[in-house]
Symmetry: none
Subunit: 248 residues, 2 copies
DNA sequence: TTCGCTTTTGCGGTTTTATGCATATATTGT
DNA sequence: ACAATATATGCATAAAACCGCAAAAGCGAA
C-alpha cells in the first residue's frame, strides 16, 4: 500500500466513522503503528483531521457537530447502510438531498456501477466522490434554503427519465397525510421524482415519523419502502406496514 | 514498446486498478524505472494522474490536491476582489468553476442583485451563500475530475442564455494558443459560455499564464478582460495588452 | 542510404523519502 | 500510583527519486 493511498484510506475511514484507532489502522493497512502515527501526524499538520491519543477524529465531526448530532449521525449511518444494500449495479436512481442522503452516498459499495440523478448540490458532490458511479445533476434555479435545484426546468428534466429507484429523504411522514414538505418548489420536484420511478424508497430518522407539514408530496400508497434506523419489528413502524410499505 | 504505447498502457492500468507501482510498470513494460518515472512525470504534468512516491494514483480517487491551493489563496483573494468590482446589479452572469471562482463568490458585494449561471457544483454552493443573488445550476452529467456538469444538455442550456458577462477560470493562457484546457467536455462548456456572453472575463493566478494545454477554448481576441493577482503594469502582462485585452 | 539533428533511453552516483526498530518518555484508566 | 498503552526520538536501511551524461533510436532532408 502506497503512502498516499494510506492517507486517502484514513480520510475515507474518518468520513465513514468519524473516528479511527491507530491500532486498527496499522492492522488493516499492514504497516507498523509508527508509520500510522506518522501518517496521522502529517494529516493533522495539514489540518485534515484531529489527532488524539490512540487515533484521530474527523474534523467536521469535531467542529460542526456536537454530541447530540453525533447520535443522529450514527442513526443516519444505519439508515444509509440499509439503503445502500438495495442499490444494484446498472440501476438508474433519482435522489433528493439532505444529510441522510449524504451518508447514503458514503455508504455505497465502491464497486457499484449505477447512475444517480439528483437535484441536490451537496448530494451530487458526495456521489461524485464515488469511484465508479455516474452522476447527473438536474439543473435549474437553486433554492437557497434546501440547496436543491427547483423549477419547471428541473421537473421537466425529471419527467424525461425512467428510473428504477427513487430515494427520498423524509421531512415529515404520517399515516394520514403521507409524505409532506413545507416548500412548494421542493414538493414539485419530489412529486416528479416519484412519478418517474418504478420504486420509491423513503429514508429518514424515526423522529420524522408521525409528523406533518403543510404540503403533501405523496400518499403512503406511493411509497414502496421505508427505511429508518429502527429495527423493522419496532411497533412504531406497524402502522406503515398496514399500508403495504416494506420496512427495512 | 513505444512511448505512446506505454503512456496508454499506464493510463489503462490506472483506470482498472486506480493505482500503479513504478516497479511493476518497469517490469511489465520491459524498460528501466527511470523511463517509467519520466513517463509518469509527463502524465502528471498533463494532469492525467497523480504521481506519488512509489508509483501513481488515479485522478478520480484523489480529489484532495487542495493542499497546494491553500498557498495560493491569498492571490486568489486579490483576483476575486478585482473581479467582484466589475459585477453590477441586474447583470446575468455565466461562470465556470475552480478555486478562484469560489473566492470570487465570497468577495461579492452583499447588496448585489444579479443572476449567476454555473456548471460548477462548488461554485453554485458558494454563490448560494450570498444573501440576494439568484443562482441557476446548469444540469448535466457531472465530470468527476472538475466537478462540473458537462454534455450536450448543458451546452444547450447555455445556448439559451443571453448573458452580460462570462467569467472563466484560467487553466492555461498563452499569447499564441489562447485559452486552453485538457478536458474536451469542459472545453465545450466554456466555448458555449463565451458564445452566450457579451463580455468575457478570464481570472486566474499568473502561474497559469504562458502555458498551454491540449485543446483550445478561445482565441485571445475572444477575451475582453484578464484578471490576475499581478499589478496591471507588470511586464508579464504586456503581451496580452497588445491583443486588446483589458488588464485589471 | 547517409548525414546531422532531436528525442528517448539507460546507467552510475548522489540525494531524498519511507519505514521499522529500539529506547526513552508521556498518557490513560483503574 | 501503577501497569498498560501510546507517543516521541534517533538511527539504520532499503527503496525510490533525481541529475547529468552518453549511447541509442527515430526522423527528415540531401
Amino acid at each position: 500500500m502506497l503512502k498516499e493511498e494510506r492517507l486517502e484510506y484514513i480520510l475515507h475511514e474518518l468520513n465513514l466513522h468519524n473516528k479511527v484507532l491507530s491500532a486498527d489502522l496499522s492492522n488493516k493497512m499492514g504497516v507498523s503503528d509508527d508509520t500510522v502515527r506518522r501518517d496521522l501526524q502529517e494529516l493533522s499538520i495539514d489540518n485534515r483531521l484531529i489527532k488524539v491519543h490512540g487515533g484521530a477524529l474527523s474534523k467536521s465531526f469535531h467542529t460542526a457537530f456536537d454530541r447530540e448530532m453525533v447520535y443522529e449521525i450514527e442513526n443516519k449511518n444505519i439508515i444509509a447502510k440499509k439503503a445502500a444494500a438495495l442499490v444494484q449495479s446498472g440501476m438508474y436512481i433519482l435522489t433528493s438531498g439532505g444529510t441522510s442522503m449524504i451518508e447514503f452516498a458514503k455508504a455505497l459499495d465502491p464497486n457499484l456501477n449505477a447512475t444517480f440523478f439528483t437535484c441536490s448540490l451537496n448530494a451530487a458532490i458526495e456521489f461524485s466522490h464515488h469511484p465508479s458511479i455516474e452522476v447527473v445533476m438536474i439543473g435549474d434555479k437553486v433554492s437557497k434554503d434546501s440547496m436543491l435545484t427547483t423549477g419547471a426546468n428541473a421537473v421537466q428534466s425529471i419527467e424525461s427519465i425512467q428510473a428504477d429507484l427513487c430515494i427520498l429523504g423524509i421531512n415529515s411522514l404520517d399515516t394520514q397525510f403521507g409524505l409532506s414538505e413545507n416548500d412548494w418548489e421542493v414538493v414539485q420536484i419530489k412529486k416528479a421524482m416519484i412519478k418517474a420511478s418504478k420504486k420509491v424508497i423513503c429514508i429518514g430518522i424515526s423522529e420524522k415519523l408521525n409528523s406533518q407539514q403543510k404540503i403533501k408530496v405523496a400518499d403512503l400508497k406511493d411509497i414502496d419502502i421505508l427505511i429508518t434506523e429502527l429495527d423493522p419489528n419496532d411497533p412504531l413502524l406497524d402502522p406503515y406496514k398496514k399500508h403495504e410499505i416494506l420496512i427495512y
